[in-house]
Amino acid sequence: MKKVIEGSHAVAEAVRLCAPKVIAAYPITPQTHIVERLSKMVADGQLDSEFLCVESEHSAMSACIGAQATGVRTYTATASQGLMLMHEMLHVASGMRLPIVINVANRSVSSPLSIWNDWLDAMAVRNSGWVQLFVESSQEALDTTIQAYKIAETIHLPVMVCIDGFYLSHTYEPVDIPDTVAGYLGDYKPKVVLDPKNPITQGMMAGPKAFQEFKEQQHRALLSAKDVIKNENREFNKKFGRIYGDGLVETYNMESADYAIISMGSVCGTIKHILDEKKISDIGLIRIKTYRPFPNKEIIDLTKNLKALGVLEKDISFGIGGALWADVKTFVDKPVSNFIGGLGGRDIQIEDIVKIFGTIRKEEENIHWVGSQLKK
């Protein structure tokens, strides 16, 4: 059914369809609408889950870990400070290979306190071994959250679906809600569970003889997500008729491009709008949907014949530059300019992007702060 609903509610619908048995969450702007809607679904009997009003985000992730290890599907959502507070448990969840799904309604990180959108939160936990997916629209948020369960349960790793706070979480737009995901996502059937009939031990210590191999395995598993994501992108399309690039990256207007702008999330919609409206042909968009594992090969291939690139991102890795820019630069060997903007909710406007296009065409390599009010 296609309806105009809020991005948060689109996510909640996806969760309802996937029917996790345990949801544990703590409120934080701009995640609240997701979990409020889920509470209501549980109260009304539309969703047969335990909804735990935990006392912190650290406990939210801990409760999900406990429940998932016992053998049920789980869910949580958070943002910003909440994601920071559960950081320790993100590493535990991935290390324990538990396919938990989280939505992050991306928001900045204090101090100064900001309730507004950027990616400082998700970027600060990019080392935690989770699959990280960034979406552009409410529809994609819904579709990707459903796929997230499938991906997670295939590779035995947790998945984080990032939606821009307010820009997606609080936006109403048309969304097609599937009637069921039954034919797509099967029952959750874990092998390693807490069960008195087969009393195994989970969450162990590992000494110097074994620890490194667990991490190597984990890294391999995360890399293996690339194929899984591509595959689920196709499978999902077969069932529901919607597809997002190859699942890792999506390109737009790249047919005759000499340059590309690389970015993620909702701002890509604005970029597409401008490319269309202004009938730009020399610049295309490469939207990274899968940020971790990082689609290095795809980006190398897509940029091979380009003259220069620009990376637009809503984050800063202090003391080095934009995190996404650094990732791209790690693999791409041509001028890549970095555009850091939209921090703490600063709206990235049409003129900003037009200016960025101009800078990219200069084929230089610099770090630019979009709309900076500081003296150079």
Binding site: G95, M96, R97, L98, I155, H156, K191, V192, N198, P199, I200, T201, Q202, G203, M204, A206, A210, E213, F214, Q217, R220, A221
Partner: protein
């Protein structure tokens, strides 16, 4: 190890039996004939290393030296002072 490619670090139950902590002992507890098999020591042994066995129709404490760490709680707590110690060799 590769078989666990898609699993975290988990273990089969009770596998620490492979870890024979008997080698840790400095002192070795010895159950003497004064033992009446009352079972008190079994409730106090941190290793669960004492059990009561029947020998010649008499109940008696038996220590599993593969795991006994030689803490000597049993010696201290036996109401019949039935346990003695010797230096481990």
């Amino acid at each position: 190890m590769d078989k666990k490619f898609n699993e975290g670090a988990w273990a089969e139950p009770g596998t620490s039996v492979k870890n024979k902590t008997g080698s840790w002992r400095t002192f070795k507890p010895i159950v003497t004939d004064r033992c009446v098999g009352c079972g008190t020591c079994t409730k106090f042994c941190p290793e669960g290393a004492i059990k009561i066995v029947e020998k010649n129709g008499k109940k008696k404490a038996e220590i599993n030296y593969d795991y006994c760490k030689g803490c000597l709680i049993c010696l201290k707590e036996c109401p019949f002072k039935a346990i003695e110690k010797e230096v481990e060799k």
